[in-house]
């Protein structure tokens, strides 16, 4: 029986990897459902109690929450506008022109994306406190939140715009240059990247809705912070669930049209194209301006908050700081476990997703649209979904629903969309004729996958794993809601002690985190550059 089965599976032709089939849609649906499933019972319960929610005119979620939601929307809108206005032109300039220190400046500008926003908020707040009450007042509330959130949103728009510009072919750029010089090149390139940049700005804005950090530090009530307070301080799971559902509804209202609009464009960018790559040119004036803008961004988004984090250490003896830091560093093992667990979960699922989608165009579009929408959902939704499942499930299911494994899986599912985009892109850049050649030569599908496909996809999957690991580490909401007792991650430890612990301890911990994130960012950058070469 076993050998019969083995024979049967061994006989599957490589052609199956390229052929359409109902199994593809079915498998993709199952995989995406897996990512959304943990939140389903919670959403269901909230929907069931929707009558009472609407009858009370939103009073059930609390008037404070409604006002916090309003604040969150204002911040999201302003962040989207700022990030588009700054990120788009800088991204286009960075991709089109060569200048000294390009990699370093870009890496430093991208850093805010990979470090929890509350760390930067701590840096700014520490600096403002030293500059006097006026500075502290200026930076409190909306201004501080917009400043910190904009740093990461600008980085996102900048990277997306640069990538979209780099996707232009060399001949397109040359044609624009011949038609009207640098001005035409810039105008045409900006037009080309306008849509992806707009989408990235929208995404950056939507993501701020789910981030509780800066609001808590700059004393601005935000929806995400209210949910955490309801759950972790008031122990009111039901209220947290309802608030989370309302936030999810709002996020989906923005995210779904965004995803529908973005998915086809993103899907068409996924497939490999044969065109002469664009070459960056040296232009003294424009390069100088680009360096100036990037330097300003790096100073605002990265260097100044780091300076703010460093200042408390100057006045604290090194020995004392180290003693205090040691207690926080005990979280290192759990932080690493969560990061690796999330990375492996997301990378494995994304590989499966890429295999199932294959070269099916419509399925790729649907999958990307779903991924974008899933990514926009508040992290607290999945986490509270797990909590809900855990309260309903029997005790034997604790190892699945109340353990470190739960945190890994929840974080992996949360960042599956990021890994999925990389996985689909990697699959799209393989050639269909490789598979046809394998089929023609009678290579078994497993041999082909093992010897050709997996080694070729490996660099992209490793990058996806590292990226998810970094993003997962920066996610405080999920870990806060799900971690088993005594199993905090480093960012969560900082987040929970930041209000009461000595400033030097918080600052040192933040700096350690920034240093580790920078190291990983450099590793990622180097790997991506090697992969390109």
């Amino acid at each position: 029986m076993e050998s019969d089965l083995a024979n049967r599976f061994g006989m599957i032709s490589c052609l199956a990897l390229e052929r359409p089939g109902k199994w593809r849609a079915l498998s993709v649906t199952i995989l995406l459902l897996v990512a959304a499933l943990p939140a389903a019972p919670l959403l269901w319960r909230t929907l069931m109690s929707m009558d009472s929610l609407t009858a009370s005119g939103g009073a059930a979620v609390g008037s404070a929450f409604v006002s916090a939601l309003r604040n969150s929307v204002v911040v999201a809108l302003l962040v989207a506008v700022v990030s588009l206005a700054v990120g788009l032109p800088t991204g286009v300039l960075t991709a089109l022109y060569e200048f000294q220190g390009r990699r370093v400046l870009l890496a430093l500008a991208a850093l805010p994306l990979l470090v929890p926003s509350f760390l930067w908020a701590i840096g700014w707040s520490s600096l403002a406190a030293r500059c006097g009450p006026v500075a502290a007042h200026l930076l409190s509330g909306f201004a501080g939140c917009i400043l910190v959130f904009s740093a990461s949103a600008v980085a996102l728009v900048l990277l997306v715009s640069a990538a979209a510009t780099a996707a232009l072919s060399g001949s397109q750029v040359d044609a624009a240059r011949l038609a009207g010089g640098e001005r035409t090149v810039l105008v045409q390139a900006s037009r080309h990247v306008a849509t992806p940049a707009l989408l990235a700005a929208g995404l950056g804005g939507v993501l701020t809705l789910s981030d509780p950090g800066p609001g808590q530090i700059f004393a601005l009530r935000t929806a995400a912070a209210e949910i955490l307070t309801s759950f972790a301080a008031r122990y009111d799971f039901s209220l947290a669930g309802q608030q989370c559902a309302v936030l999810t509804g709002l996020v989906l209202l923005i995210a779904v049209p965004l995803a529908c609009f973005a998915a086809p464009r993103l899907a068409s960018e996924m497939m490999a194209r044969q065109s002469q790559a664009m070459r960056r040119v040296r232009h003294r004036g424009i390069a100088g301006a680009t360096v100036a803008v990037l330097t300003l961004l790096v100073l605002t988004g990265t260097v100044t908050p780091i300076a703010g984090l460093t200042l408390p250490l100057i006045v604290t003896p090194a020995g004392v700081a180290w003693q205090r830091l040691k207690s926080l560093l005990q979280t290192f093992a759990d932080t690493l476990l969560y990061a690796v667990g999330a990375g492996v979960t997301a990378a494995a699922l994304s590989l499966l997703l890429a295999l199932c989608v294959g070269r099916h165009d419509r399925l790729r579009r649907v999958c990307l649209g779903m991924c974008l929408a899933l990514f926009c959902l508040p992290p607290a939704l999945t986490a509270l979904g797990f909590v809900h499942l855990a309260t309903e499930a029997p005790a034997w299911a604790d190892f699945l629903l109340r353990s470190r494994l739960t945190v890994c899986v929840a974080l992996g599912l949360r960042f599956l969309p990021v890994a999925a985009v990389l996985g689909l892109h990697a699959w799209g850049s393989t050639s269909a004729s490789w598979t046809l050649a394998a089929a023609l030569h009678g290579v078994s599908v497993w041999t082909y996958l093992w010897r050709v496909v997996f080694p070729l996809l490996l660099p992209a999957e490793v990058v996806a794993m590292l990226l998810v690991a970094l993003l997962a580490t920066a996610d405080v909401s999920t870990v806060l809601l799900l971690h088993p007792p005594g199993a905090r991650s480093l960012p969560l430890a900082i987040f929970t002690v930041m209000a009461n612990a000595p400033e030097s301890l918080v600052a040192t911990s933040c700096l350690v985190y920034v240093a580790v994130a920078s190291g990983l960012l450099i590793a990622l950058w180097t790997m991506a550059a090697r992969g390109k070469a």
Binding site: S13, A437, A438, A439, L440, H441
Partner: protein, 251 residues
């Protein structure tokens, strides 16, 4: 498998409601070298894929030695059991494997032992003059050398049919001419039946004796190439004739 015969009977192929081939019938005679001509998108590559078993017809049948090997939406005999080898337009060399491993993996469906496969691969590489590149990756060798590696991988399985899907596009004239001469010699030595898809008169006339002209998914002309060129019906053959006359006049 020498002496085997491929036959297409009223074969049609549609992709997403678009008809690429319509009611095509023809027989591939053993040992014949045939060029398939026609404008872009007329179904030339689809025809090769149907013969190879990489695609199933939407209607009609494909027969090998009188046995049905493909019928509507079903492939009854796997590609590697048809005695067919193919050189793809983009060559389809697996980029992460060395030249030797490309040929070895191509032999994995033949049931040869590791030792036998190695000897066969070495022989094919030597025949195609790329044995010295055995340990190199495809990305590190020139376009002409890559063509030879793709050819070595194809002939290593000792096929009866060699399908060439515009494999020489992008090569310089000198490399192309040498490669064509080499394939012509190999095809005669090994009694290969060759089907070549091309737009290039040089390739067609160097390698093939007969021709099949497709237009809009239908066969519009078929026969011995020199006969067809005497009274061409299709535009592509008229251009071929003009090209040949031009070359002769130039000489």
């Amino acid at each position: 498998m020498t002496g085997s015969r491929f036959e297409l009977r009223s074969v049609s192929k549609t992709y997403d409601g678009r008809t690429v081939l319509s009611q095509v019938s023809f027989t591939v005679t053993a040992g014949e070298h045939t060029v398939i001509l026609g404008p872009s998108g007329c179904g030339k590559s689809t025809l090769l894929r149907l013969l190879a078993g990489l695609d199933a017809p939407s209607a009609g049948q494909v027969l090998l030695d009188g046995n049905i090997v493909s019928e509507p939406d079903r492939i009854l005999r796997s590609p590697h059991l048809r005695g067919v080898a193919m050189v793809f337009q983009d060559l389809a060399l697996w980029p992460n494997l060395s030249v030797m491993n490309n040929v070895l993996l191509g032999l994995s469906g033949t049931g040869l032992t590791r030792q036998e496969a190695k000897a066969r691969a070495q022989e094919a590489l030597t025949l195609c003059a790329v044995a010295s590149l055995a340990q190199r990756k495809p990305g590190t060798i020139s376009g002409g050398q890559q063509q030879r590696v793709a050819l070595a991988r194809a002939i290593a399985v000792q096929p009866s049919y060699l399908l060439l899907d515009e494999p020489f596009s992008g090569l310089d004239l000198v490399t192309k001419t040498r490669l064509l001469e080499q394939i012509a010699t190999l095809a005669v030595e090994r009694a290969l039946t060759v089907l070549l898809v091309t737009h290039d008169p040089l390739e067609a006339t160097t390698l093939c004796r007969s021709a099949l002209v497709l237009d809009n998914g239908r066969i519009v002309e078929a026969g011995v190439l020199t006969d067809l060129l005497r009274a061409p019906q299709s535009e592509i053959l008229r251009i071929f004739r003009a090209y040949r006359s031009g070359v002769r006049a130039g000489m």
